[in-house]
């Protein structure tokens, strides 16, 4: 049982996803506890996985006992174990939080919602752990189809946004499939490690270049690299808040992980950065995306839409780190996958809390009475927003620091200035909310008396109007950003530096 742990997470999630519609058909209440238990289980197993590879050994799991180039291989190395743990932890908090929100945002639809959530996580975990290119395609489609459903459950406009994403996402997956078709024709293998070994002997030829372009373009759509981000703002805005909180931290990061995996561990660093220089292209597009996303975020008046554009810009940081193609930039990119997952997860959950308790998440309407009503949500928001801006004790600073060091290492001063300018732009769009929440007086003018009355009535309650089940996941996610920041050296030294691709 326990030596099967690499395959256990996707399989358990898949099995529970199928079980939920069966078990919860008559009793809708069952859906949430089953999902919650499956999610706890996946966190435990992925923690065990990271413990197994802590000494740096690559664990290869042969599916059905077939030896790798022939059979499907699941690979557990520090990179896949690390990303899987991040995804499962964030998903756990979002699922926990979804219990308080489901009554308002998707009444009567919780059975399909939780089944899709588990399918989505199954796809994500499968993509992370698989060592086979075609298997990755299948998991990518499971992941995306569940994602379309999760978006389509939302508001009135959500199905249109979801449909647009479906057309673009299917195009992306088809490009990826075409790309691995070219790769298969040239190398005759679909196993990532096997393709890597064969690629060393392959002469430079157009088919490989075409394969690389198709794969990067296809996964670029899923990852929402700058000119391919068109589906993202609408999809994140109209989806139910818990879906956006699940998709924003996990969806695009999976794309980033696949790009890292395929560029550096299948094609190899010397091919993608010197023989056929696609990393430069990714870096320039990402740099453009950082500025575009930040500027568009400043223009938004609605919090979820602003966070969606901010996602475009944060994906740019990860793309930039990948595109720099040096160890420091790579460290920054992988660290930013972790940081952004936690930051965006907690920020979208804050937006969800606002929508649940206040009924809107319009930035202009926020004022200091919200701080009194939702003290912990707003504290969580502040920490996450400061981390997005990149203030030192929080996690966001360190990934930007490594990215900046990587840009200096490549002597690319333009990228360095873009990183710095975009921190400034981030500060503009988050300080707008800080200003409203902490400084703008409430129009009723009664803000000062309200909390005192509350305290008197509830006997020293300092949580305002908040429900613990809505507040604790948000608060834990965002306050852990400080811990990640303080212990970032352990993460970088213990995990990320062990998985620097060969030859980088």
């Amino acid at each position: 049982m326990i030596q099967n742990s690499p395959a256990l997470v996707p399989l358990i999630l898949l099995a529970t996803a199928i079980l939920i519609p069966v078990l919860a058909l008559k009793k809708e209440k069952l859906a949430y506890p089953i999902t919650f238990i499956a999610s706890i289980f996946s966190v435990i197993v992925s923690s065990y996985n990271i413990f197994r590879i802590w000494n740096g050994v690559r664990i290869s799991y042969h599916f059905g006992g077939w030896i790798p180039p022939i059979g499907i291989e699941y690979v557990l190395d520090p990179l896949s174990a690390f990303i899987a743990l991040v995804v499962n932890i964030v998903a756990f908090f979002v699922i926990w939080h979804s219990n308080g929100i489901r009554a308002t945002e998707f009444t009567g639809k919780s059975v399909p919602y939780y089944a899709l959530t588990l399918l989505f996580l199954c796809g994500a975990n499968g993509i992370i752990v698989t060592g086979d290119l075609f298997n990755l395609y299948v998991f990518l489609e499971i992941f995306s189809l569940a994602g379309y459903g999760l978006i389509g459950i939302g508001e009135r406009q959500a199905p249109v946004a979801s449909f647009r994403y479906l057309i673009m996402g299917t195009l992306g997956a088809s490009f990826y499939l075409l790309g691995i078709g070219f790769l298969y024709i040239v190398t005759g293998s679909l196993n990532m490690a096997d393709v890597r070994n064969i690629m060393v002997h392959v002469q430079p030829n157009p088919a490989i270049n075409v394969a690389l372009i198709l794969i990067v373009a296809g996964i670029g759509i899923k990852m929402a690299i700058f000119p391919l981000h068109g589906w993202l703002p609408d999809a994140y805005t109209y989806a139910p808040s818990t879906s956006s909180a699940l998709l924003a931290p996990i969806g695009t990061k999976i794309g980033a992980y696949v790009i890292i995996r395929i560029l550096f561990f299948v094609f190899g660093i010397e091919f993608v950065s010197s023989d056929f220089n696609i990393t430069d292209l990714i870096a320039w597009l990402s740099a453009a995306g950082i500025l575009y996303g930040s500027i568009m975020a400043i223009a938004q008046r609605e919090m979820k839409r602003m966070l969606a554009y901010s996602s475009v810009s944060q994906i740019g940081y990860i793309g930039l780190g990948i595109g720099l193609a040096n160890p420091l930039g790579y460290t920054g990119a992988v660290l930013h996958i972790l940081n952004h997952a936690f930051m965006k997860g907690s920020l979208f959950l804050v937006a969800a809390n606002l929508r649940k308790k206040i009924g809107h998440s319009n930035i202009d309407k926020l004022d200091s009475s919200y701080r009194k009503k939702l003290p912990w949500t707003m504290a969580a928001f502040s920490v996450a927003a400061l981390s997005m801006i990149g203030l030192p004790p929080t996690a966001g600073f360190f990934s930007k620091w490594y990215l900046a060091l990587g840009a200096i290492d490549n002597k690319n001063w333009l990228f360095l200035s873009i990183i710095l300018i975009s921190s400034l732009l981030n500060a503009i769009y988050f300080f707008r909310i800080f200003e409203n929440v902490y400084l703008k007086p409430s129009p009723t003018g009664k803000t000062d008396e309200m909390p005192i009355k509350k305290t008197a009535k509830k006997g020293g309650s300092f949580i305002g109007d908040e429900e613990p089940s809505l507040t604790i996941p948000v608060a834990v996610l965002s306050f852990s950003l400080i811990l990640i920041g303080l212990w970032n050296a352990t993460i970088v030294k213990g995990i990320i530096q062990r998985i620097i691709p060969p030859g980088m």
């Binding site: 299948v138 489609e141 406009q157 199905p159 249109v160 299917t170 195009l171 499939l177 298969y184």
Partner: protein
């Protein structure tokens, strides 16, 4: 030059199919027509894999006593066909999700015309 075109006729056909699919997805205004374009695009990729498995003077990959097992070159490659069976299933699932979304969109907005849809999304949010 002529040989190059004639010798790759299967691939030219696939490229034409792919471009038809892309044209449908980008330029057609009706959502169902967009979906038809998407399906054509997916089919063209399936055809591409199948074409890449072809060998001249080889038979189906089932053990034939007349051919024997010694010479693998006498059988066409079965792997691409297996992969494409999975890809076809994935394509069917995608169409299913897409059509259910189309139905929901039609129920909400009573139209599938994209320009009309965008208008109605603005006027009746």
């Amino acid at each position: 030059m002529f040989d190059f075109f004639l010798g790759h006729y299967a691939y030219w056909g696939i490229i034409v199919l792919m471009l038809i699919g892309l044209y449908g997805m980008i330029f057609k205004n009706n959502l169902v027509k967009k979906l038809i374009g998407m399906t054509i695009f997916q089919v063209s990729i399936i055809m591409f894999y199948v074409a890449s498995a072809v060998k001249w003077s080889a038979t189906v990959p089932v053990l034939d006593p007349a051919v024997g097992a010694a010479d693998a070159a006498r059988y066409i490659s079965p792997l691409q066909h297996c992969l494409m069976l999975t890809a076809i299933v994935v394509g069917v699932a995608t169409s299913g999700v897409a059509f259910s979304l189309v139905i929901v969109i039609y129920r909400h907005y009573k139209t599938l015309n994209e320009s009309l849809l965008i208008e109605r999304m603005k006027s009746q949010p």
